[in-house]
Structure formats: C-alpha cells, structure tokens
C-alpha cells in the first residue's frame, strides 16, 4: 500500500521520523507512482525558490543602517543602548512613507482655531466689553463688525481685532505658502477659566476654502490649494 500524499510531502521535508522515513525511502525505490509524486513536490520547491530574485544583502544592510546596527560586528562609538537609540531609528524611517505634507488649508485652520479660542477666552473675561452677554454672542458680534482690506500683502500686520471672515478671505487670496504669526496684545490680561470655544460659524457659501467650522471644532473637508 502506498503512503498518502501528505506523508510524502512530510518525507520530502525530512520530517518523517525513523523507522518510517527509511521504509518510505525503500518504497519509493520500487514505486514509480510515489516517486513521481515526490519528484513533483521537489520540482515545486525548486520553482518556488527560483522564482524572483532580489538583493537580499542590500536590504539587510539598509535595515541595519536604519536601526543603527553595525552589521560588521564592530562596537559602535556610542555605548548607548538600543532602546535609547530608538528616536534616531525612528527618524530614519523612509520619508516617502511617513512624511505628510501639511496642506495650506490645515495651516489656516490651525491659525483660525487659535484665534477663535483666544478671542473666546478674552471675551469671556470679567470686565471686558459685553461681559453680560454670552461669550459666543459677543464674539459673533465682534466678528461681524470688522473686515480687513482684501489688498493685504505678505509682511503686513493685522492689528486690532481681525474677524474670522476677513482672515478667511485674506488667506483665500494667497496663492503662495505664507507664514502666519499670531501676536497677542502686549497688555492683554489672560486668565484660564471656562472651556475654549469657537466663536464663528460662517455660512458655507461665504468660504471657498475647503474648510468649515461647526460648533466647537474645525473640520477639514478637503485638501488645500
């Protein structure tokens, strides 16, 4: 009786213990059918191993380099432990996989978020104008009261209390990357207290930047320009 294919497969892997291993070897000498099956398994192995070539040594060396491991076995100059070297290894991650370009709209959203939170806090301070009204209502009034000239150029300073609408309009007109510095009033008195609050919800048609504000947070809805 012939061994089944599963046993022949294990035999080809040298995974059959004695004395069965020797018995199968003897059987294969006299059984053409089983010998063909084993030959087929070995051909498959050869085809699998022969298929595709790559520079294994180069990949091993690249990973070693990224991990800061000296493959030659020489002691590295530094005596720090591998765990302590982790940040360096992290930094060497391939940029293409991990670097995320920050879209212009995201930068603008961050700036607007900061302005919104700060103005919300300032307006909520006791003694400030409109202290009797809710911070949200006061801020909305303040935002609708002013507008920046659309002709502002890079390098200009927005003084006073620029509104969110005017900021959005200004940012919308800028085609090149710009740097935004938000400067707090030098004599401002800030105190912690209350929850930060976004103070403006512009109508969707008024803002063509792929940016929307809803309730207490900014939601990015698409890529920047």
């Amino acid at each position: 009786m012939c061994p089944d294919m599963e046993l022949l497969s294990a035999w080809a892997d040298d995974e059959v213990p004695s004395p069965w291993k020797e018995r199968i070897s003897s059987h294969l000498e006299g059984c053409r059918s089983c010998a063909d099956k084993v030959a087929g398994i070995k051909r498959l192995s050869l085809r699998l191993r022969a298929s595709g070539k790559f520079d294994e040594a180069a990949v091993v060396a690249k990973v070693a380099s990224r991990l800061g491991i000296d493959k030659s076995g020489e002691s590295p100059a530094s005596t720090e432990t591998a765990a302590a070297r982790l940040p360096r290894a992290e930094i060497t991650r391939r940029q293409g996989n991990f670097a995320l370009p920050i879209p212009f709209a995201a930068v603008a959203a961050a700036a607007l978020l900061a302005v919104g939170i700060l103005s919300g806090r300032m307006l909520a301070l006791p003694g400030s104008s409109g202290s009797g009204a809710s911070p949200l209502a006061s801020a909305t009034e303040a935002n609708s009261a002013q507008a920046l000239p659309a002709s502002l150029n890079a390098g200009n300073t927005m003084s006073g209390n620029p509104t969110m609408d005017s900021l959005v309009r200004y940012l919308e007109t800028q085609n090149a990357p710009i740097s935004i510095t938000i400067q707090l009033p030098p004599n401002g008195s800030f105190a912690g207290g209350g929850a930060p609050m976004i103070v403006k919800t512009p109508p969707a048609e008024a803002v063509s930047l792929p940016l929307s504000t809803q309730g207490l947070g900014f939601v990015m809805t698409g890529a920047g320009k």
Binding site: M5, E6, S9, A10, D13, E15, G40, I41, L44, S45, R47, L48, R49, S51, G52, F54, D55, E56, A57, A58, V59, V60, K62, V63, A64, R66, L67, I69, D70, K71, G73, P76, T79, E80, T81, A82, A83, R85, L86, A89, E90, R93, R94, N97
Partner: protein
C-alpha cells in the same frame, strides 16, 4: 544573552539581527513582493521589538516573535496591495472591453511572477506555512512555534499548500 529575562540590549540586538535579518527579509520579500516593502516591514518589526522591551527567555523566542511580526506585516501589506491591484485591474478591464482579443493575450503574457501569483491565491494559513518552509527553510516544529499551531497541523497545511499549488500550476482549478 537572553536568559536574564531582560529586554535585549545593544549587543543582544546585534546578535539577534545577525541571526535573523536575512531570514526575515526573505520572508517579507516573498510575501510582500518588493524590496522597499521588505525593508520597511523588517525595520518596523525591530522597532516594535525595541519599543515593547519584551524580555525574551532565549534568542529563539525573540526570533520566532520577529518572524511572526514580519509575516503578519507582510501579509497585511500584500492584502492592501492586492486590493489596489484588483482596483487597477477592474479599471483596466473596463478600459479594454472593446479592445482586440489579442490585447488580452498580450496582457496575460505580460504577467510576471507566476509563482508569486499562485502563492497569493493561497489562503493565508496555507501561504504562511509554505513560505516559512520553502523560503525560511524552517522545520515543522519552528513553523508551529511561529504560527502557534501543532507540528501535525503544519504538516497538513504544508501538504495542502503544495497540493493547491500543483493544481494551479496544472491549471486545474483555483483555490479559495
């Protein structure tokens, strides 16, 4: 080196790397399909090992852990790539619906890596075993440790993977 039960230090890490890197890269490449992916997957595995500070009782335990992480990472990568490729193929077929049948033959003949394609059609549990066996040159016992299954189960899966591959090579049927 690993008997103290403490996380591997620099020396142990180098020792582990020298003992496993070629094997890990080979397994990752065979499953994931590109050198870049293999490099990233093996790198990530070592980073995870360092980050987790797992106290391995022996070099073999650390090696099996790494093989498991690399195998899983490579399979995940292959899955993602498979979805992408299927999406491209769907689009490509749509574009070529009205084209000459000769184009389809040409497309078929352009397909490279036939054995890789066969491997990709294997169910994961069979593919893992045959890749570790054929490319990792590991014993059934080692494969069982990596995959958390018995040696007997490895034997059955190795056989079933080969049977399926032989059938695919003969063009008998697909395996799902």
């Amino acid at each position: 080196m690993f008997s103290s039960g403490s996380p591997p230090g620099e020396k142990e890490l180098r020792e582990l790397y020298e003992a496993t890197a070629s094997l890990l890269v080979r397994i990752a490449w065979r499953i994931a399909g590109t050198e870049e992916a293999a490099e990233d997957i093996v790198h990530e595995a070592f980073i995870r090992l360092i980050e987790k500070k797992i106290p391995f009782p022996s070099l073999d335990d650390a090696k099996f852990w790494l093989i498991r992480v690399v195998k899983n990472g490579a399979l995940n990568h292959a899955k993602r790539k498979g979805r992408e490729v299927r999406a491209y193929e769907k689009w490509w077929q749509g574009e070529r619906v009205a084209s000459d049948p000769a184009d389809r033959d040409l497309l078929r003949s352009e397909t490279e890596g036939e054995m890789r394609a066969f491997l990709e059609r294997l169910p994961e549990k069979l593919r893992s075993v045959i890749v570790l066996k054929e490319y990792g040159e590991m014993s059934y016992r080692e494969i069982g440790k990596v995959l958390g299954i018995s040696e007997g189960n490895v034997k059955v899966r190795a056989f079933r993977a080969r049977e399926a591959l032989l059938e695919m090579m003969e063009g008998k049927k697909d395996v799902s």
